[in-house]
């Protein structure tokens, strides 16, 4: 299958995602410059982490106006897979492809650390290779990762099982202490209504090789590859 990795000015996980997809998972990958509007030929589009437009104004707020984003909207509407990681999650929220917003961490500091995530819905295209309740170890690296949404949105997300991952303890309990940034309901990742757009703050591309300290990130990418194969 063919992945596209979008590069905004200020994106920096583009090369990491490319490395993992091309070298570790042996998939076809192309970079997509943010001024491009043609996403034909791609099966999945990745919005990587970084500081698009310096995160000035509000993270993701300027990137959502990049030409590529209208193409991403159509791509998502056609049912193809979109994954936004970290800054990519923020951009998807700003673009209205995902509900809610990522605000400053409640402790007002940047955090780069390993976190444990509990799989909350294993029947998504992004989690099919995981088990319900499985704990994945995946690092975070952000200043603005505290998920917020109004009560109604939050209720709907929960009721429709659209929370993909929650920050948890190593044994899978959802506690305040396991929450690294103050996210509501310990939310680390969510999907859209159709289930084909995922946004997550942790960086799965950082843990796809044993030498990097863990390989749980592979499960997410392999789920995507499996889904694309199924659809094809």
């Amino acid at each position: 299958m063919k992945f596209g990795v979008i590069v905004f000015p200020g994106t920096w996980s583009d090369r990491d995602c490319y490395h993992v997809l091309a070298k570790v998972l042996k998939q076809q990958v192309d970079y997509i410059w943010h001024k491009s509007t043609d996403l034909s030929g791609f099966d999945c589009v990745v919005l990587p982490g970084g500081f698009s437009y310096g995160d000035y104004l509000r993270c993701g707020a300027i990137a959502r106006f990049s030409p590529v984003m209208s193409a991403v909207e159509k791509f998502a509407a056609s049912g193809k897979l979109v994954i936004g990681i970290c800054n990519g999650f923020q951009i998807l929220c700003e673009a209205g492809l995902l509900p809610g917003v990522l605000t400053q961490n409640n402790h007002l500091q940047y955090r780069c650390q390993w976190t444990d995530l509990r799989v909350e819905n294993d029947s998504l295209p992004f989690t099919s290779r995981t088990q319900q309740g499985q704990v994945l170890s995946i690092p975070i690296s952000h200043y603005e990762g505290s998920y917020f949404a109004d009560d109604a949105t939050l209720r709907e997300l929960e009721a429709s099982k659209r929370v993909a991952f929650r920050y948890c303890t190593p044994s899978g309990e959802i506690t305040a202490k396991a929450n690294p940034n103050g996210s509501l309901n310990n939310i680390a990742g969510i999907v859209n209504k159709a289930g084909n757009v995922l946004g997550m703050m942790p960086h799965p591309e950082r843990c796809c090789e044993q030498i990097m300290g863990g390989t749980d990130g592979i499960l997410i990418f392999e789920s995507i590859i499996g889904e694309a194969a199924r659809v094809a």
Partner: protein, 733 residues
């Protein structure tokens, strides 16, 4: 003379120097020319007081591709057609005035030095010194510097992989912020900063030019300062997003053959950038300041030439390629303007439209007078050396609580509060993250890895600058040996007081001599560096503090090693360390933190040091040992505790004490490494140690959930962990 004393003060030129300029120029310089001289003759750019000493440092080695001073950073061959580019630089004074922006722009500057050479930055390190954290201002400085480093580096996507933070009253008014950047580039694609080829174009790229940072090089970096607030406007403001775009655009440009050179604008802005490039090429330059895009109205040619506005680069573009170069910068939404061209007459000619505002031979600008003051040994050195340690009461039954106190002291406690604010994983190369002896990065598409460390000990250098200089190099190399890496090269940052004072000059000279001695014996070249002098406030110089940034190579990444104990039942062994002339308490963290004393004698046997390191490297490569940890601040007990903490497992320690309990547990004898190995491998380790003529001593067994040393210490591991883990966060609450 027509130039007032005030103007000379602004650019930190002495009257003698002014007279020399008049004599060499054959006329009085105008104001713009004075600005050029002041910047290029500053200590920061011209190394007036340090050049003669820096020559003592060895830089010859078969691996070295670029030597100190030749380019923006040093470069060293690591095989596979790749080379590592690295440099360290200080941003002490700006950070003392405005910690966030001072530290942030320090990172920005050092990163530009690396991508200027066509190398992609792959790692940042930093070495920080502050006054004690019970002072609110020191907490403000520390917190501001850490978020400034994070704010800038995180936005660029360069991992912060190692470093150190030290607290001492010596740095209260004058913190040290030394930032190091490491990049990688294919050997054939190294870019020079030389301006050559008559008619080639000077293209200024990136941010517009404003009045920020005027006199940074001559004013802030090259003299002592008293009134912080008054100097605040001399600190630049960083824009990391602009830097990220510049970096990507320049790396794209470096892949082409459209340019002959690339040079960043750092201290002294356009002045040093253009003139140093031309000097390297033996060329001249013409620059029209009217073509420099401004962010402010009414700037004079003087201000344009001396502005230190950040995130600017100068590309020396082959004539005819300007449109293609411009297209690359356009793609990244960066402004680029042709502001002048290269000439062949060796003159720096600055115009403002049609009017010539400066016209000076470049060799005059780049040949400042060199000073070689006479150093005088400070009286305190012999006095403190003779300090009688026998009066220090032994700790007897208090060893457990002393250990916990030391582990909680900010100099030894976990620095997680710092490095969790830095992205240390981006670029997915970080195999060993901060918190170990050295950071380890894999080199993608090879079997290799590099290890990096930044290290220094101002207290040692204060007590004995020569021995302290040796130890600084030895300890950094030991950090790398513990990771399994062969030291390849050093970048250094020499932080000292006012070199015009004979006692400070003595410290500078002796430290450099000590470093040179260690470099020769350990066979490690110094490939780049920076000198930060005038680090004093109200007449008090800081501890002489050379910081060593060191690069090591691991040929096979499978053979890297970490500090944590690995398995129940492994045998803990001490390599090295029995021939020391001193008992190790002199200058120790223990003496300072527990007894409030900075005194005593320090010593090192550099030949033994070399053997210990080689022995450790062999043991790692042969797979004999499971962990290795440098024994340094806090001595043996703290080293063992750190290996327990990192491994999440206890120790049952038992060995015969030679001297006093405190010396045995907390003394800082050099040339020691704590390793652990399966019992079945200990015989091999002994043989290896014998072959390397390295003393070896068994210290006990890994296991259990207590930190236990017979007849001395017995504490649950949980308590050890919490003393060490939380204290910095608590101090900053």
């Amino acid at each position: 003379m027509s130039i007032s004393k005030e103007i000379l003060d602004d650019v930190a030129l002495s009257e003698d120097e002014y007279n020399l300029i008049v004599q060499q120029l054959g006329r009085e310089p105008n104001l713009v020319e004075i600005g050029l001289f002041g910047s290029l003759w500053s200590e920061h750019c011209g190394y007036k007081h340090s050049k003669s000493l820096l020559k003592l440092l060895p830089h010859a080695s078969p691996h070295v591709l670029v030597n100190p001073g030749e380019e923006n950073a040093g470069a060293v061959d690591i095989g596979d057609g790749l080379c590592i580019v690295m440099k360290m630089e200080s941003h002490n004074h700006p950070s003392a005035i405005e910690p966030y922006e001072g530290a942030a722009t320090g990172v920005g500057g050092i990163v530009r030095d690396i991508f200027t050479m066509g190398a992609r930055p792959i790692a940042l390190l930093n070495s920080l010194r502050f006054g004690p954290l019970d002072e609110p201002r020191n907490r403000y400085l520390f917190g501001g510097v850490v978020s400034g480093i994070g704010g800038y580096g995180n936005c660029l996507g360069i991992p912060d992989v190692a470093g150190e933070v030290v607290f001492s009253p010596s740095y209260s008014a004058n913190p040290l912020i030394n930032a190091m950047c490491v990049g990688i580039v294919e050997k054939e694609k190294l870019v020079s900063s030389t301006a050559r080829g008559t008619g080639n174009l000077l293209m200024l790229v990136g941010a517009d030019t404003g009045r920020d940072g005027l006199h940074g090089a001559s004013g802030l970096a090259s003299r002592t300062f008293e009134d912080e607030c008054e100097l605040r406007p001399t600190v630049q403001v960083g824009n990391p997003f602009m830097e990220k775009l510049l970096m990507e655009a320049c790396l794209e440009l470096a892949e082409t053959d459209y340019i002959v050179g690339l040079q960043d604008l750092g201290a002294a802005g356009l002045t040093s950038s253009a003139i140093e490039s031309a000097s390297k090429g033996g060329s001249g330059v013409i620059i029209d300041v009217a073509k420099v895009p401004r962010r402010e109205e009414g700037m004079t040619p003087y201000e344009v030439m001396l502005s230190e506005s950040q995130e600017r680069m100068l590309a020396i573009v082959k004539r005819g390629c300007e449109d293609k170069v411009k297209a690359i910068f356009d793609k990244w939404d960066l402004r680029s303007d042709i502001i002048g061209y290269v000439t062949d007459d060796g003159i720096a000619r600055i115009t403002d439209g049609d009017e010539v505002v400066a016209d000076v031979p470049i060799t005059l600008l780049t040949t400042p007078p060199l000073y070689r003051p006479q150093g005088v040994k400070p009286a305190w050195i012999d006095e403190l050396k003779r300090f009688d340690l026998s009066g220090i009461p032994d700790i007897g039954e208090n060893a457990s609580s002393v250990l916990l106190q030391l582990l909680a002291s900010p100099n030894i406690a976990s620095k997680e509060w710092v490095y969790r604010q830095y992205d240390h994983q981006v670029q997915i190369n970080t195999v060993v993250a901060p918190g170990s002896d050295a950071g380890v990065l894999r080199i993608k598409d090879t079997q290799k890895a590099i290890a990096l460390t930044a290290d220094g000990n101002g207290r040692y250098c204060y007590l004995d600058p020569y021995i302290g200089g040796i130890i600084a190099v030895a300890e950094a190399a030991r950090n790398l040996a513990c990771a399994g890496a062969t030291p390849l090269a050093i970048t250094d940052c020499l932080n000292f007081g006012n070199p015009e004072k004979p006692e400070v000059f003595f410290q500078l000279e002796q430290c450099i001599r000590g470093m040179a001695e260690a470099c020769h014996i350990l066979n490690i070249p110094i490939i780049s560096g920076n000198v930060s002098l005038y680090n004093e406030t109200r007449g008090e110089p800081i501890y002489p503090t050379p910081i060593i940034g060191m690069l090591g190579l691991i040929d096979d990444i499978q053979h890297h090693c970490t500090i944590g104990f690995k398995r129940e039942g492994d045998v803990v062994v001490l390599l090295g360390g029995s021939t020391a002339k001193t008992d190790g308490r002199g200058g120790s963290e223990y003496l300072d933190a527990i007894h409030g004393i900075v005194a005593g004698d320090i010593s090192i046997d550099i030949d033994l040091e070399r053997k210990v390191q080689l022995c450790c490297l062999d043991a790692i490569r042969q797979g004999i040992i499971a962990s290795a940890h440098d024994c340094s601040d806090g001595g043996l007990a703290v080293t063992l505790a750190e290996s327990c903490i990192a491994g999440g497992i206890g120790i049952r320690g038992k060995w015969e004490f030679q001297g006093k309990t405190d010396s045995e547990l907390f003394g800082e004898q050099q040339s020691r490494i704590v390793v652990s190995a399966e019992p079945a491998r200990v015989g091999e380790l002994r043989n290896l140690a014998t072959r390397h003529q390295v003393p070896l001593k068994e210290l006990g067994t890994v296991g259990g959930n207590r930190f236990f040393i017979e007849n001395a210490i017995d504490v649950p591991l949980d308590e050890v962990v919490s003393a060490w883990k939380n204290s910095l966060a608590q101090a900053m609450r």
